[in-house]
């Protein structure tokens, strides 16, 4: 569902400044999608209710409990690769879906759901901030 307004979750102004999100425009569609991605990533039980059984009371309750924004960005530029365990190529979107269903003890959103899309958009914004290119590795080499 498209919302022209995204709620301001705690820490967003700091995140926005730290990751240079405004370089995509102060109030663009993209920026708003990044913000929704931020909300989903750090406050999953509030913003991704439909796709998780976790609540804020759980010790591990959001994507950010296990991942950093940086790791998410590296995940994006290293996605769409062959996974020997699954014996097929796995997209970033599928990784996100799997984490909703698995570690988040919830349900799988569709490929087009903002709960998936905006995580990708968030990852893209962070990857832009880190100046990553395709296949960049965490050790920087």
């Amino acid at each position: 569902m498209f919302r022209s307004q995204v709620s301001n979750a705690p820490g967003w102004p700091q995140f926005r400044a730290a990751y240079g999100v405004d370089s995509f425009g102060g109030d663009g569609y993209f920026t708003r999608a990044v913000q929704n991605g931020y909300n989903l990533f750090y406050f999953t039980p509030d913003y991704g209710k439909r796709f998780t059984r976790k609540t804020a009371a759980d010790a591990v309750h959001s994507c950010s409990s296990c991942h950093t924004a940086e790791a998410l960005a590296y995940g994006l530029v290293n996605s769409d690769r062959f996974d020997a365990g699954l014996d097929r190529r796995v997209s970033f979107e599928e990784r996100v879906m799997r984490c909703y269903a698995g570690p988040m003890d919830g349900f799988i959103p569709t490929l087009y759901d903002p709960a998936v899309r905006d995580i990708r958009v968030l990852a893209r914004a962070v990857a832009h901030h880190l100046r990553l290119s395709e296949g960049a590795r965490t050790d920087g080499s």
């Binding site: 993209f30 994006l76 190529r89 490929l111 990857a127 290119s133 590795r137």
Partner: protein, 366 residues
């Protein structure tokens, strides 16, 4: 009473058996097509000559690390990134083949080697490189990507941005779908179809080979636009456009822009008529009147690129916009039917009218 219910039971059973049988048949068919896909994914890829040259030039092999020889040579930087597995390499190779030869005209087993891409396009000869030249990665003589050349690597790093035409944030996959629907007058493949994913893999590889950074806007992305304001504001004129077209373009694209196909191979793509892009495509002057002029001025006439001025390009684009072509989804069934009729009627009529014209003596200054 008794006899009736006895015969009704077997009839009912027969019906159920029939339905179950049909479902089993469908299931078996699905299994076999899955098996075929799996086999194709695992098969080694016969590259088209263009793709062979491109991917070898970029040093694509399965290895733990990938280092782009291009970036090393042109930018003098050593960019080592994560390498590709055998499976990933094949996906990239298939993606390049799809862009270069969408309908498998160069493939031994035809469209099957391209995930049956011909299912998704109506024209028999459309292929992505007609508009995304050099496999979506066109370079100038100095080896630099050409500005406004619809580069697919630059498109990948800028995917997910807001698209002002659809009003959506569009992923790379959705942008490809648009090109199936509008640029190729076709249908939407599924986002997770191998057809789409292999091209994404190829685009992503191009961005690695060119060392393009995520979220960065590069001049080679998209097509350059020539808006009205970039002319001397004399006004666009399709009659003049028709004249320039006849002089500069008709020898390749044909007198009525229907393209040229020789022995099943497209030499020159159609710019109008049933084999061409639809009225919803951004290439269509009526939808976006600045993009097609940009394409023409930068890329055409092939061999003498850059020889036309901005007004020429707008005039030609306007003229091409007046020729009959397939309607898009947004025009509705009436316009679609009308366009269909015009595509049938106009070419012979125009030919006839022009044959009359030839009998007149040319006036000086015509």
């Amino acid at each position: 009473m008794e006899a009736k219910s006895v015969s009704a039971v077997p009839a009912k059973l027969m019906k159920i058996a029939l339905i179950v049988g049909a479902l089993c048949g469908l299931y078996l068919m699905a299994l076999s097509s899955h098996a075929e896909r799996d086999q194709l994914r695992k098969a080694s890829v016969d590259l088209t000559p263009n793709c062979k040259a491109k991917l070898e030039g970029y040093g694509l092999v399965a290895a733990e690390h990938y280092r782009s020889p291009y970036v090393q040579a042109v930018n003098g930087v050593d960019s080592t990134v994560r390498g590709y597995s055998e499976q990933d390499v094949r996906s990239i190779q298939r993606g390049c083949n799809i862009v270069d030869d969408l309908q498998g005209q160069l493939a031994k087993r035809g469209a099957r080697e391209r995930w049956n891409a011909d299912r998704f396009v109506r024209g028999t000869y459309t292929t992505c490189i007609h508009c995304h030249q050099s496999g979506g990665d066109k370079h100038d003589t100095a080896g630099k990507p050409v500005s406004g050349s619809n580069n697919l690597g630059a498109s990948w790093v800028m995917a997910d941005m807001y698209d002002r035409f659809s009003g959506l944030i569009m992923s790379h996959e959705l942008r490809q779908m648009q090109c199936y629907i509008n640029a190729s007058n076709g249908f939407k493949p599924n986002s997770a179809d191998d057809l789409i994913r292999d091209v994404t893999a190829y685009s992503r590889f191009l961005s690695a080979a060119l060392d393009q950074k995520m979220g960065q806007r590069y001049a080679e992305q998209g097509l350059d636009e020539i808006p009205f304001s970039a002319t001397r504001r004399r006004g666009d004129d399709y009659v003049r456009g028709a004249h320039v077209y006849r002089e500069k373009c008709a020898n390749c694209h044909g007198p009525q822009a229907l393209g040229m196909v020789v022995q099943g191979k497209v030499l020159y793509p159609a710019l109008a008529g049933p084999q061409s892009f639809t009225m919803d495509s951004r290439m269509y002057f009526g939808t976006l009147n600045s993009l097609m002029p940009g394409f023409i001025c930068r890329n055409m006439p092939l061999g003498a690129e850059g020889s036309l001025d901005n007004q020429d390009c707008r005039d030609i684009a306007y003229y091409l916009g007046t020729l009959p072509r397939p309607a898009g989804d947004r025009q509705g069934p009436l316009v679609a039917a009308w366009q269909q009729v015009m595509m049938g009627v106009m070419p012979p009529l125009t030919r006839y009218a022009e044959s009359l014209g030839r009998n007149h003596t040319e006036h000086p200054g015509d």
